[in-house]
């Protein structure tokens, strides 16, 4: 039993109210303790989520090396490319993933084939009119594209 007669006047409340106040304080304490342990440290750094998740997602290794990486060694070809219609093309669009080659130039990239050209230049009614399109069955069948077209400078004749 709580003895109310010896308490300071502020706490001279009915015992059931004091119990209720103590219980409320207890619940609040448990809430804050649980919150301290359960909420991840970076939560709320940028918003209602773990801020560290951004770094976790960014930690992945890139797969494609990017045109800048090619430019460091093959600057001349990249410059040549910039003059002609294929200027917007990334090297890896045709040459394929080159990260291994960037890290170790000994690793050679596979040779390109005719299908590489046809993939973009095969005629289709869905393709935009500005694109140079050919029907492979009718356009110099049996010949290799590079016999007449320079891939790095398509408007030049070899």
């Amino acid at each position: 039993m709580l003895r109310t007669d010896t308490m300071p006047p502020l706490l001279k409340m009915p015992p059931q109210i004091i119990r209720l106040v103590l219980l409320t304080i207890g619940i609040v304490c448990v809430y804050f303790t649980a919150r301290f342990f359960l909420v991840p440290p970076s939560f709320g750094q940028y918003g209602h989520y773990r801020g560290i998740a951004l770094q976790e997602i960014a930690a992945r290794e890139p797969y494609w090396a990017g045109r800048k990486a090619c430019d460091t060694c093959h600057g001349e070809i990249v410059k040549k490319l910039a003059k002609a219609e294929h200027q917007g093309l990334s090297c890896e669009t045709c040459h394929g993933p080159s990260k291994a080659h960037v890290e170790n130039p000994e690793v050679k990239l596979p040779k390109l084939s005719y299908s590489q050209c046809v993939r973009c230049h095969e005629a289709s009614p869905s393709r935009p009119k500005w694109l140079h399109q050919i029907t492979p069955d009718k356009h110099y069948t049996g010949q290799v594209c590079s016999e007449c077209h320079v891939p790095h400078q398509p408007n030049e004749v070899p």
Binding site: F37, L38, P40, P41, F43, Y46, G47, H48, Y49, R50, I52, A53, L54, Q55, E56, I57, A58, A59, R60, E61, P62, Y63, W64, G66, R67, K68, G88, L89, S90, E92, T93, P97, R119, C120, E122, S124, P125, S126, R127, P128, W130, L131
Partner: protein, 268 residues
């Protein structure tokens, strides 16, 4: 009950249990902290998401439907087979029937394997086609994204730089976000058992590289840039100057950060 249950032993056990309960979350927090250090170690340093605002622009008139972007995305992000973070749709609108008084016939949309390997010729004969075009689709990076609003655990969010991301460690795989996305850009990854979506190649853009689809696109149908740090002769600025831009499903008020040029009214 046995005789050797004393007040002392009961209190001892009780103290042990309380101590254990208190130690458990603390231990878990420590373990998570150590794991976090290793998880974020390869992340690029010095990237401040508050200093960037990314925007993607898609030019329908430039898309040639080669499907390279879809393959590039799959390789870059290890997207499981038959699931897509980006894909290409082919729209074929037929000519109206003679004398029908219509401006256009029917619209057919297909996206065989998301456009991987390019598109086979349409079954509709060329003479019947009024017009046909390709539309690249991807996460619209909404400013007010319906998918983040429905997440019950705060596992998906709009980063300050405009990317909408999924925290795989906190996602419980309930699938609410997959249903909420009005553009159908999210899927349930059967390997991680979490929601999955385009991250705008967050691991690439934080390193100063372009997203894989933008890097590989041969016709510059995809333009990507930082509104807070424009580069000289910014392709994004040129795109905004020379095109009339539109958003997908503008009426929903999602505020996409993916803008389209040359959209037909049939595109949804």
């Amino acid at each position: 009950m046995s005789d050797n249950v004393t007040r002392r032993s009961v209190l001892k056990n009780l103290a042990g249990i309380v101590g254990g309960i208190l130690a458990m979350p603390a231990g878990r927090t420590c373990k998570a902290a150590v794991q976090n250090v290793f998880a974020i170690a390869p992340a690029p340093k010095g990237y401040d998401p508050n200093q960037h605002k990314w925007l993607m622009a898609l030019d329908v008139d430039k898309c040639i439907g080669c499907g390279m972007c879809v393959e590039a995305c799959k390789a870059e992000n290890n997207v499981p087979q038959n699931y897509f973070r980006t894909w290409i749709e082919r729209y074929v609108i037929t000519r109206p029937k003679a004398g029908s008084g219509e401006s256009r016939g029917e619209t057919f949309v297909d996206s065989t394997n998301g456009g991987i390997g390019g598109f086979k010729p349409s079954l509709i004969p060329k003479e019947d086609i009024l017009k046909s075009f390709f539309v690249p689709k991807m996460c619209n990076l909404c400013e007010h994204s319906p998918c983040t609003q429905v997440c019950p655990v705060g596992a998906t969010f709009e980063a300050p730089d405009g990317a909408v991301l999924v925290d795989k460690n906190y996602c419980i795989g309930c699938g609410f976000c997959i249903q909420a996305c009005p553009y159908g850009c999210r899927f349930f990854n059967p390997e991680t058992h979490t929601a999955d979506k385009c991250t705008l190649c967050y691991h690439r853009i934080t390193r100063g590289l372009k997203p894989a689809c933008v890097e590989i696109c041969p016709s510059q149908a995809r333009i990507f840039g930082d509104l807070k740090n424009p580069v000289p002769d910014d392709p994004l600025r040129r795109f905004m100057e020379s095109n009339k831009v539109e958003e997908l499903k503008k009426s929903l008020g999602t505020g996409p950060r993916v803008l389209y040029a040359g959209l037909d009214e049939e595109v949804r």
